[in-house]
């Protein structure tokens, strides 16, 4: 019976043959069936993606909205009180585990001051369900993006063309936003793209903390259940998203800097 099952599942074939059979199915959109629920893996992933995609996008938006203004201001007002505080907060954000930050946010905003739910689905609470998780991951991302934005702005602000722009009488907002920020964004975009990988990893942890039914939580539950088709499907989706985001970063880079050719 075991031998028959192994044959039916194709497990008696060499590993490389099994891999290419699986790959062929993936290209046809067939990721197999869950051993636990017998649902098609692709259906499960599409359903869970409705939570993970808004979470990932929301986290990146929160991270960028915090990091870029703070990084720019920290560079403009270098060595000021604001600069020191922002650097300390960035260091703390980078060191704080995402899952612990999530738990702190639950204590502060869902237990002490009950503004947001401590967990639950978007179907129950709408966008409020992902505000705290987005902020947890976003704050972590912001720590890295802030440091890169500040360093990049400082380098650009010391360039000759910035001095020329000031000498020509361009107003400070124009100098910073039109001349400095655009050029400073190039390395920042690279970091933002790389942070997407951290976001996807952070989603695994954050979905567990907030009990969100996303791809990350599905992956962890499947590991416990030894549901290998689902594990393979989740890892494939997350890794593909990471590679795609890196390609997107390369494309944006080539658009922002005419000297860069793909």
């Amino acid at each position: 019976m075991a031998a028959k099952l192994r044959h039916d599942l194709g497990l008696d074939k060499p590993v490389m043959v099994q891999y290419f059979v699986w790959l062929g199915r993936v290209f046809r959109g067939d990721l197999g069936k869950s051993i636990y629920s017998e649902d098609p893996v692709s259906t499960l992933l599409l359903e869970k993606a409705k939570t993970t995609v808004p979470l990932a996008l929301g986290s990146m938006i929160v991270g960028v909205l915090i990091a870029i203004p703070v990084g720019v201001l920290a560079a403009i007002y270098r060595n000021s009180f604001f600069d020191h505080i922002s650097r300390i907060l960035a260091m703390i954000g980078a060191c704080m585990p995402i899952f612990w930050l999530g738990l702190i946010l639950i204590i502060l905003f869902a237990v002490k001051v009950q503004i947001f739910p401590p967990g639950g689905t978007m179907a129950e609470y709408g966008l409020r369900a992902i505000v705290l998780p987005c902020f947890a991951i976003g704050f972590f991302n912001a720590a890295f993006i802030t440091r890169m934005t500040r360093a990049s702005m400082l380098e650009i602000l010391s360039e000759d063309y910035i001095r020329t722009a000031r000498a020509k009488g361009v107003g400070m907002p124009g100098v910073y936003l039109k001349h400095a920020l655009r050029n400073a964004m190039l390395p920042v975009i690279t970091v933002v793209g790389l942070q997407l990988g951290q976001t996807l990893g952070g989603a695994v942890l954050t979905e567990t903390v907030f009990n969100l039914p996303g791809i990350g939580r599905l992956l962890i539950l499947s590991v416990g259940r030894r549901d290998y088709p689902v594990i393979q499907g989740c890892i494939l989706v997350v890794a593909s998203a990471f590679v795609f985001s890196n390609l997107l970063v390369d494309f944006l880079y080539s658009r922002l800097d005419p000297r860069v050719k793909l």
Binding site: C95, P97, F99, W100, Q198, G201, I220
Partner: protein, 275 residues
């Protein structure tokens, strides 16, 4: 060393790291209670004179479990980093020294591993090999290899063109001898900078995996596991999650600050190597 501790921020990092290492080594002498000792009559007590950081759902002293938990974090963090360093340095230096096809093959393999978020690889490896302390150290070591290989490759690429390397070859030294005795000692500080950063990352990975239930298993005290267990009591026993989280954050901060300090100290030397 004196330059390192003259920087106040780095000094803070050194103090934190030394304290954590001290706690780990002398845990049995410093912890007020054994980590597994249960006091059911005192379960879920808030911080008090008897239990400085409170007790958990089994009446176990949180402070004692945090002190013993530092051992796990250090074992996985430092042990895993050392394992990854060994293989990573070997791969990176070999790729840089021989170049061409060897370099391409090794670096493409490294790129494949680095194209996955680390937590995904860690989860996949735990799925295959199962949880446990030693396996966790090996997984952390595996995740360290790609970055160490890249960090090692850069200075070796530069150093292999120096005349002292040519001189060593001229007097008949083999490739392995040239790498180990002449090139790698000059890369040591660069690798050391990365090692401390890597240790911080390793501690983060261990805590994350233990939090997900895929790392250290109970009753062994792990800071990540303590956070996971404290989640269900978060409404009325916030100390169960607060103190282990502070321990993880401070430890990661300490190693990061040491790494930053070492890097700042080495900058002029890195410029000389690049020339």
């Amino acid at each position: 060393m004196s330059k390192l501790i003259k920087n106040p921020v780095t000094l803070i990092g050194v103090i934190i790291s030394v304290v954590v290492i001290f706690l780990g080594i002398f845990a049995p002498f410093l912890a007020p209670y054994p980590f597994e000792e249960i006091h059911l009559e005192d379960k879920l007590q808030p911080p008090s004179k008897k239990y400085w950081l409170g007790t958990d759902q089994f009446g176990r002293d949180i402070l004692s479990r945090i002190i013993y938990g530092s051992r796990i974090s250090l074992l996985v963090g430092l042990g895993g980093t050392l394992a990854g360093l060994g293989v990573g340095v070997l791969l990176g230096s070999t790729a840089a020294y021989y170049g061409k096809a060897v370099d391409e093959a090794i670096m493409r393999f490294i790129d494949i591993i680095m194209s996955f978020p680390y937590i995904i690889i860690a989860v996949a490896l735990v799925t295959v090999f199962g949880p446990g302390l030693f396996k966790l150290m090996m997984i952390v070591g595996f995740l360290t290899i790609p970055r160490v290989a890249r960090i090692t490759r850069a200075p070796v690429l530069a150093l292999k063109e120096f005349s002292f390397v040519e001189a060593a070859r001229a007097i008949g030294r083999g490739d392995a001898q040239v790498l180990i005795k002449h090139i790698l000692p000059n890369c040591l500080m660069v690798i050391l900078v990365f090692a401390s950063l890597s240790a911080a990352q390793a501690i983060r990975i261990e805590a994350a995996l233990s939090f997900l239930g895929l790392g250290i298993q109970p009753p062994t005290p792990s800071w990540g596991l303590m956070l996971a267990n404290g989640r269900q009591y978060i409404l009325y026993a916030t100390w169960l999650t607060t103190f282990p989280g502070i321990a993880i954050s401070l430890t990661i901060l300490g190693f990061n600050l040491v790494s930053d300090g070492l890097r700042d100290m080495l900058d002029p030397r890195l410029r000389r190597v690049a020339k």
